[in-house]
Structures are given as C-alpha cells and as structure tokens.
Symmetry: C2
Subunit: 459 residues, 2 copies
C-alpha cells in the first residue's frame, strides 16, 4: 500500500500509542507559559564543549527511511563505530544491522522489543551519541532519557511540539551538560551555507527581514496507511492547527540573523486558512469507511506567521504541506544593501549586481558562488554530492557533527536553537486559536543570547 517510504517510520505501527500521544498536544488550548524560567542546572549549555572523543560510538533509535539514511552516512565517515540499533519494527533494525556488518565486519546489537526497548539500549555504557528519528511526539522523552543516560542526543526535526517539551530539553541539557542538537540539515545546504557566509561578510548590509517556509505538497504520504510517515503524520493534521513544521525554513534564516547569538525572537502572531484539501484527498483516494475518512482535519491548509526580534528584525514564516503548488522554503534574507531569495535562487546587491530593480539569477549567480562559497562546502561539498541526501546537506551535517565531537568543539546548533526553532509550532497554535493575538517567544537561553557570539564561518 505505501506509495513511498519517507522519514521516521519508527513506531509507525503503534497506532494506539500514537493517537494517545497526539492527544496530549491539545493541551495547547491553554495559553502556554512563555516567561523565562529559573534554571534547574548549575550551568548553561550555551557554547557547550564536551570532552573530545577519539572515536564516536553511535546508537540509533528509529531506522526507518530517515534513520537508515543516517546509518548510511555514519558508515562513510571516519572515526565512527555503529554500536547498536533500535527500532520497534524488527525488519528495519535487522536491515540496518546487516548493512553495518557488511561494511565493517562488526555486528551491531539490535533492540526491537516494543516501543520502550530503546531504554535498554541507553543502559549500555559503550555509546557516546544517539540519533533519534522517530515520530514527533517521541523526540522529547527519548532525548531526555538519552541525556540522562549520559549520551549526547541528536534529534530529528522538530525537536518538540509543546512549550513544555522545549523547556524539558533545555533543562535536561543544562543539568546533564550533554549536547542536544536538533539536526536541521537545511542549514548545511550549499546555498544556505553560502548565504550565511555572505551575511557574515556584510554583503547584504544590516539585516532587517527574513522569510522562511516549508511548503511541500505531502498529500501522497496519506497512502502510507499502516507504516511510514503518513501513518502517524496524518493524525497531526487532525489534532492541531498552526505551523506544524517550521524548522527547515527557519533554521537557516535564524542563523543568518544571529538568533540566540546577539538577537532573539521576541513575539509572534499567526493565522491559518481553513482546512480543506486533506478531506477532499481522502474522499477521492480512500473508501468511505477508511480511517482517513473518519478523521476531522483541523489544521489550516496554509499557515502564515509573523515574528519580531528583540533587535527589531522581522520574519515571515509559512507552512503548507497539502495545497497543490510547487515546493519552497522561501529562504529570503534582506538587508540595507540587498536581498537573497530562494526557489528559485535570486539576488540583488546594491552596487554589485546588474541592477537593484532586476533579479540576478540562474547562471548569473555562478560568479557569486565562486566568490562566496562557504569554506565548509568547499571542504566536503564534492564528497557530499557523491554521498547524496537532499543534495549533500545531510552528509555535510553528519560530517560536521562527527568533526566537532572528535575535536571537542561546540556544535553549530545547540539545545536553545532546537527549542527556539521548534517552539514556533505551539505558539502559532495558540495565536491561531485566539484571533491572531501575539505571543511572547520564551527566552530559552535565559539571557545568554546577549553574550553568545554569532556562529563562525567554520571550515
């Protein structure tokens, strides 16, 4: 039945558990508490440096379409040992373990005994980091358990779906002094890295405005009825209404704008359109008594949010996973001297490109790529393109994670970024439910954003 395999299929078959977890997100009917909270740990996790690892010993929770891709990358990066693999769907775990054995000659342990067997894997003392690629509602409990068990946590997006969940990640990272990185792969795309470099070099002048989106017609996932992303993600559209997937668009724009590192998100408002096309799609593609035809879809087909930062910059963030139209993440950043926009890539730089009244685009951008290519992409971009994974961004991210861990460097994305980029979802839900009333964005850094330095142009 599944039309295509997609990301994070762990627990896909756990229908009952999935529904129960999804229901907890309805708690956002009450206004989320967004005031800064007292720290539970003795230290911040801002700029966290963990002891260097000679080799990085890895465990996986969830090796469906997305997690199995991560396994593949780990087998192609030096200094990594794949120690253990957990998935409640045994064939997925065994397929991944077989791949590891074929590549390395070493067997990795498997954990396939139900939804909570990952805890047994976390009891091991020969694992340094854990990759978590499971349905959204499992991200927080699994990451918290991993950190408490002494492992660094690497999470799929979004990191959390509630304000409480965001704080739980932050508190646990601070108390345990473990990394908690939400793996926003788009920040490692070739264009995004180059634009970050251009922003740091001041090419666009002082930054004033950005636009970020995840607009991707994913209706086809509904054909993943019993297993795969559609089997659990479809339920989200019935339970919630807001921007359900903000981080792919926001992550790069937040780094351009030094969010949590000199500036911070201050407040936001959000509106959602009516919910229409998933019901239409279900009626057209499934029998009347099919479970998709028994759902009442709540989530507006397109959500638009506006955000203001403490330093005054503005953002427009959109989400739409169902309307018939081409893909975009917008990837727009605009300053006093120019603008970059994506999908398709185009730019204006005052005094540099041919005109401020006409886009420079297509082949005309080659000279800019030559001039501003990010050092990280120069170093591993060619290898990344060979390895694949969303045009190479996945490999660059994985390479960089392992590099930082082996060299005792802070990660490019920390737990505060994970919380800030993810919290757009519950705040948008509440604003949508309350006539677009503006919501304060919590300061997860507890003031450290004022002193944290902007992310460097690493190589």
């Amino acid at each position: 039945m599944p039309k295509k395999i997609d990301r994070r299929e762990f627990l896909a078959a756990a229908g009952a558990a999935g529904v129960a977890l999804a229901a907890t997100s309805m708690a956002t009917v009450q206004k989320p508490q967004t005031a800064r909270r007292p720290s539970k740990g003795a230290k911040s996790a801002a700029g966290l440096v963990a002891p260097k690892l000679d080799r990085v010993r890895v465990g996986f929770i969830g090796v469906g379409a997305r997690g199995s891709g991560h396994v593949g990358h780990m087998l192609n990066i030096e200094g990594v040992d794949v120690v253990a693999i957990c998935d409640n769907y045994a064939p997925s775990a065994e397929r991944a373990a077989k791949r590891v054995a074929e590549k390395t000659g070493k067997a990795s342990a498997t954990y396939t005994n139900g939804d909570r067997d990952y805890k047994r894997m976390l009891d091991r003392d020969d694992i340094d980091i854990v990759f978590i690629s499971t349905p959204w509602d499992w991200h927080v409990p699994m990451a918290v358990d991993a950190m408490k068990a002494g492992k660094h946590a690497f999470l799929e997006v979004p990191a959390a779906t509630t304000v409480e969940g965001c704080w739980e990640l932050v508190d646990t990272a601070e108390v345990t002094q473990k990394h908690c990185m939400m793996m926003e792969n788009v920040n490692y795309g070739r264009e995004e890295l180059m634009v970050l470099n251009m922003c740091r070099l001041g090419v666009f002048g002082e930054l004033l405005h950005g636009e970020a989106a995840y607009i991707h017609d994913l209706r086809g996932q509904m054909h993943e009825v019993e297993r795969g992303t559609g089997s659990w993600r479809t339920l989200e559209y019935a339970e919630r209404n807001g921007n359900l997937y903000p981080t792919h668009g926001l992550g790069p724009v937040a780094q351009y704008m030094d969010i949590n590192r000199g500036d911070r998100l201050d407040y936001m408002s959000s509106v959602s359109s009516p919910s229409r096309v998933r019901e239409i799609y279900a009626k057209k593609n499934f029998p009347p008594d099919h479970k998709w035809n028994k759902l009442k879809f709540q989530c507006g087909d397109i959500n638009t949010s506006i955000v203001k930062t403490v330093n005054g910059k503005t953002l427009m963030i959109q989400w739409d996973e169902q309307l018939p139209r081409p893909y975009t993440r917008h990837n727009l950043v605009q300053g006093t001297k120019g603008i970059w926009a994506g999908f398709p890539d185009r730019t204006v730089i005052e005094g540099k490109t041919k005109s401020t009244h006409e886009w420079t685009e297509g082949g005309e951008l080659d000279a800019l790529f030559s001039e501003y290519e990010h050092p990280l992409w120069k170093r591993v971009g060619e290898e990344a393109k060979r390895q694949g994974g969303h045009g190479g961004m996945d490999f660059v991210m994985m390479w960089r994670i392992i590099y930082c861990l082996r060299n005792g460097l802070p990660l490019d994305q920390d737990v505060y970024d994970a919380a800030t980029w993810s919290v757009i979802t519950p705040l948008s839900e509440w604003s949508v439910k309350n006539r677009g009333q503006s919501m304060d964005v919590p300061d997860f850094t507890r003031g450290k954003w004022k002193t944290m330095k902007p992310l460097g142009i690493v190589s």
Copy 2:
C-alpha cells in the same frame, strides 16, 4: 532638482500645511475604535445606483503628474466634458486647461487661489464628478466636501489614513447617496482582471489564501525636494510606522476573495522592520544641513501584516518603498485546486497545468490568457494599451467609471472598499506599536457584506 515627476503634486509647495496635516496622523497612538458604528444616513451606499448621466461633467482637484494623466484619459473618452480644473500651483492648472482647450475647443475654468480654492469650484452646479489627486491627508476633507456639494467623488489611493477618516467617507456617502470611489487602478490590470475571472469560474477551487504587496524602491522620490510626490511623501516616513500604502496589492486580492461581498476582513496583526535606508540615502545624497537630514525616519523599511477573514481565509500583506530590490505586488491567490502568483506571473491548476510541482509560466501562460481573458479587457484592452497609463489599467478604469455613470450602474469599487482597503494603514500602525497585537477590522458595511453579491464579470 526634481529627478522625476510623480503622482499627486497638488499642494506640494505647501510645506507648512503638509507637516501640520501629517502630524494629525500621530493620533493613532491611541487604539483606534474599530467597533461597528450606528449609521448616520437613512440608507446604505452598498450597491448604490445614481441617476444616469447623459454626459459626465468633470472637475479636477490636483493636476500634477497623476491628476494630469486623468485629464488626458477624460479627453479620450466619449461623453465627458472637462468643466473645471483646480490646483494650487497655477502652472499645472493652466497647462491642463490648455490641453483641454486644444482638444475640445472649449475653455475650462481654473481655480488656483491657494489650498482651499477647490471649495469655490465645488460651488458650481455644472459639475457631476470630481477627481481628487492630492497628497494623502487631503483626500478625506476634499471627498467629503465634494459629496456634500452634490458631486460624486473619485479619489486617488489611499482613500484615508485614519480609521476616523474611513468612517467619515462612509457616513458622508450614505447621507448624501453619492458615489465615493477610491480609484484602485490595479484592479483593472490585464492579469488582475483575468485572475478575477478565473476565481469566479472556480478554476482555483475554494479560495483559501492571498498575498498582496506594494514593494517598490521609491527612494529616488526624495530628490523631489520642493515640489512633487517626494516633497510631501518623504514626511510620511518620518511620522508613521506601518503599511503606508496597502491598496495596490490588496485591491485585486480583495475582489478575488469577495471581501465586503460575502466575506469581510476580520482581524489583523503587523510587524515592521527597523527604519534604516532612507536615513542612509539622505546622508549620501544631500548636504548635512538639508531638511531630509534633519528628519528622524520612523517607518520600518519593510512591513508585514497578516489578516484573517470572517469566513476563515488568510492574507499576507507587505509594504516596502525603500529597500534595494525588484518591484512586486505579489498578486497571489490560492485555493483548493491551484494558485496564481505574480511578479513574474506563474500558476498551477491541478489537473490542468503540466504539474502541481512545477510552475507554468512565461509563454506557457498564453493558452490561459486566451481561455480566461476578462471580457472588459477584451472590449477595451487594445485601446487601453494604445492610451497607456500603467500598461493600460488606468484607461480601462476610467472607461469603466464613465460607462457606469452614463448607464446608471453601481461602480465596481464602492466607499466600503475604499475604507476597508485603506484602513490597513492605521490598524497596522497600532499593531506595530503594540507588539503585534491583533486589531479588529471595522465592518464599514454595517452588515451589508452578508447580502452584497460578488462583483460580476462585467463587460
């Protein structure tokens, strides 16, 4: 000194008066009262039909760059007599009068005796309609005076800059039963008319979301120091902060969505970026003691607003008159079956265009223009292109205005549209000043939006 002549230069030299009027808009620091108000007139002006005019006798207030264009169109439309011309800058009035005399052989009266000589012109009993093309703050008092003097009022955009001003137009139109049309010319553009036609035919399915903008780098207007648009419009950027010019983008999208005719704007939120590039431009282009270098610019360089309608549709409205980047009005409308977007024109129609994942654009749109061209454009589009004026939209609008007046038809845009499209400005100002708090949009129709029929596809 003026680099270029632009729209509405009437009163441009009246520096002191201009500043005094601009200062009144600061009253929006207090939260505007947006609740519905009791009617002052016995009748609504919704669907207003005025007695047929055999010939239309016209007076002009303001014949600068914009108003003189209107004179030109009136001389090329049958059944029109240009009776009188008012401008406080005598050379403009005389130039326009000379043009009339050359074309028609008849002299038109001129009124050039200061800022309020227009009232003397309004005392005449041989004028049916008045075109008002003056600086923004003069629009309401002049239109109100015109209607009270028994004339139909045709206003340049925006109709009003305050909530009070919007209500004043509505109240006066209802009491006097005179037309008060804000001449949103963009609604008569070829693309906009065709998209309206496609919306009415259901090509995009049920409409869910729209995007509208006025993004136009107008910094060059600052070189109009003593006369012309820049001489008074530059002051607006120093006095206010919000979306100062919403109607060119919003007008067409509001008609696609049947706003005030089956649906209505419910509430909105707004954010503005910092104000930067006009100060930079002034420093670079004018001496340190120049008046532009003594202004403190307040208006954020880019404003982004989100709006929700009573029926649930969403809009994103942007404004930016200064950042270095190409022009756009967005002109985006999206429904359950497809999307149209402008700048450049592109579309997806499920089951019709080549793919939902790829834009149909450029020459591929020819077939759609053949199929969906608006009847009004078919009728006068070729003539309009010859006449010019923003690609023909100005002529089509003027032709249609005269046609409706001579045939006793309701106008395509009424006083409620003028108020609703213009009120975005003061509501955005208040939201920007108050952490993006959402503002109710007044129901200027006093409930008539529920029964007013959608604008027909006229020919």
